[in-house]
């Protein structure tokens, strides 16, 4: 694991609970206690109503593929190797996040916008876990 060659996130105060939860293989998102809006990426203040009263909520980890690209000329030494799939996933709870779609052939005829996907966790270093997504069972 120390040999991981990809970029890793360095958390900031408002994002640390997200990354810490990922190390426990939990996907948590911030939800405003005042207006109940869930948002992503995590802000220290609700971008809808500006309240600072933010709670962290574990989400289902399921969603749909909103859009994707198959990267042929990518980041140097990216651990997934080329071609790899970058995806925008719309979580069932609403917010969208960027991720990699794995366990699928990097072939535009095999990946469908709208397909069901689910989270999986990759412990890439002792301190960092990346949420990635794969097709939901029975999807492909």
């Amino acid at each position: 694991m120390p040999d991981y060659t990809g970029p890793v996130p360095v958390p900031t105060p408002e994002t640390r609970p997200y990354w810490e939860a990922a190390t426990r293989h939990e996907l948590v998102l911030p939800r405003c206690r005042q207006c109940q809006t869930m948002h992503f990426y995590p802000r220290g203040i609700c971008p809808e109503c500006l309240s600072s009263d933010i709670a962290w909520e574990r989400v289902s980890g399921t969603g749909t593929l909103h859009t994707f690209t198959i990267v042929h000329r990518g980041v140097k030494d990216f651990p997934l190797g080329t071609p790899y799939v970058i995806a925008m996933v719309e979580l069932d709870e609403g917010p969208r996040l960027m991720t990699n779609l794995i366990d699928v052939e990097p072939d535009p005829t095999r990946i469908r916008i709208g397909m069901r996907v689910e989270v999986t966790f990759a412990d890439v270093t002792p301190a960092v876990t990346l949420p990635r997504f794969r097709p939901a069972p029975g999807t492909v």
Partner: protein, 392 residues
């Protein structure tokens, strides 16, 4: 849509004019000059074009990785207005709006807007401002986002899904733009190009091929803006600023609210058209920032030249090429002429030249009104300028 957008006043229509415009001496591959040198050369050339000198300049605008005062320092200008508004590659178009407001308010007289970037050779270029704790590197970087092509591929894929836009339609843009470049001696890429060439070029990030992507060059560009009154005393015919608009929606692509619609462009163009009083049919020349072939397609939709989803059909059959009924990017665009990093500047330089009738072989027969429509970041922002030879 952004929160609260009231109709734009036409108060600034025709109050200021672009009086000088130029690139640096050399553009393309210029490893023997620093980025700031390219700024300075362009500034010198634009001032000469305007019939003005450094002593006339009292306001300096630039964008990118520099403070506006760094460009001023290099040129030994001590401006009373320094504007470094940075919203990506369209910033310089936004600067025209800021300059117009400041000139009209009597705060400044002559605005120098400069761009210079050693995009290809990376000479005298500061590094990235996105550290590992930036939101970009926390929430996109770990997934292998490899610069602009990957972001625009996400947008192109969704546009194709929603509207049936095809790779052939994207390639139409590259081919039509190359035809214009073949008429521009300063264009970097002037060889013949076919749709098949584009489709068979290496895949960078599906669905974008290499030839769907703009060039990466070294170049500078600058324009000079002053009051319409003063402009009429200068040697070359004024290019009047008729309408302006700008809008910034987000920075990183994952924060885009709608992956098949350029929200910022819809706002900036609406504001510019409202200020100008011009109609779409009045536009003789369309200068649309073409970082990737999908961008002008979505730009044409967002600015109202066609309906949402119809951009692919709009550019089909080489409609935007020489001889087509919708001349677009007559300099050869970022795709084939030059793209040093922030191409918005060059949309205005070409518009000025077309409106003055200085374009030689590629000169449009009729060109009295032009639109310059710029892009910033990852579909992050937009700025629009409508300019013309007369004030209606």
């Amino acid at each position: 849509m952004s929160r609260g957008l009231s109709p734009r006043s036409s108060k600034l229509r025709g109050k200021v004019a672009i009086v000088g415009a130029s690139e640096s001496d050399e553009i393309g591959k210029v490893p023997h000059k620093s980025a700031m040198q390219l700024h300075a050369e362009a500034a010198r050339n634009a001032l000469a074009d305007a019939g003005l000198t450094l002593k006339d300049v009292d306001a300096v605008f630039t964008a990118g990785v520099w403070m506006a005062s760094e460009a001023a320092e290099y040129l030994r200008i001590v401006p009373k207005w320094a504007d470094g508004t940075q919203i990506g590659g369209c910033s310089f178009i936004a600067h025209v709006e800021h300059a117009a407001a400041a000139i009209d308010a009597g705060l400044i007289d002559v605005a120098l807007i400069t761009h210079g970037e050693s995009g290809r050779s990376r000479i005298g270029m500061p590094g990235t401002r996105f550290g590992p704790d930036s939101f970009r590197m926390q929430f996109e970087g770990p997934y292998g986002m490899a610069g602009p092509p990957t972001g625009y591929a996400l947008v192109a894929a969704r546009h194709m899904h929603d509207y049936g836009t095809t790779s052939e339609q994207l390639a139409e843009v590259a081919v039509a733009t190359r035809k214009w470049a073949r008429l521009n001696p300063r264009a970097a890429q002037r060889g013949p190009l076919t749709i098949d060439d584009v489709l068979s070029s290496p895949m960078i990030a599906w669905p974008l091929h290499l030839l769907d992507c703009c060039l990466v060059t070294d170049a500078g560009g600058a324009i000079v803006v002053t009051s319409a009154e003063r402009a009429r005393d200068l040697p070359k015919p004024p290019v009047y600023v008729l309408g302006t608009g700008e809008c910034a929606s987000q920075v990183i692509i994952s924060q885009l609210r709608d992956f098949s619609w350029w929200e910022a462009a819809a706002v900036s163009s609406r504001l510019a058209f409202e200020m100008s009083g011009a109609k779409h049919a009045d536009i003789d020349l369309a200068m649309f920032y073409d970082a990737f072939t999908i961008v002008p397609i979505m730009g044409l939709e967002a600015t109202g030249f066609c309906q949402r989803g119809e951009g692919g059909a709009f550019v089909s059959h080489q409609r935007t090429a020489p001889g087509g009924d919708f001349p677009m990017n007559t300099n050869g665009g970022g795709l084939s002429y030059t793209h040093s990093g922030m191409y918005g500047m060059y949309t205005m330089i070409e518009a000025v030249r077309q409106l003055r009738g200085e374009c030689g072989e590629r000169q449009l027969q009729r060109c009295t009104t032009a639109i310059c429509h710029g892009l910033g970041g990852q579909l992050s922002s937009a700025a629009t300028l409508i300019c013309g030879t007369e004030v209606p």
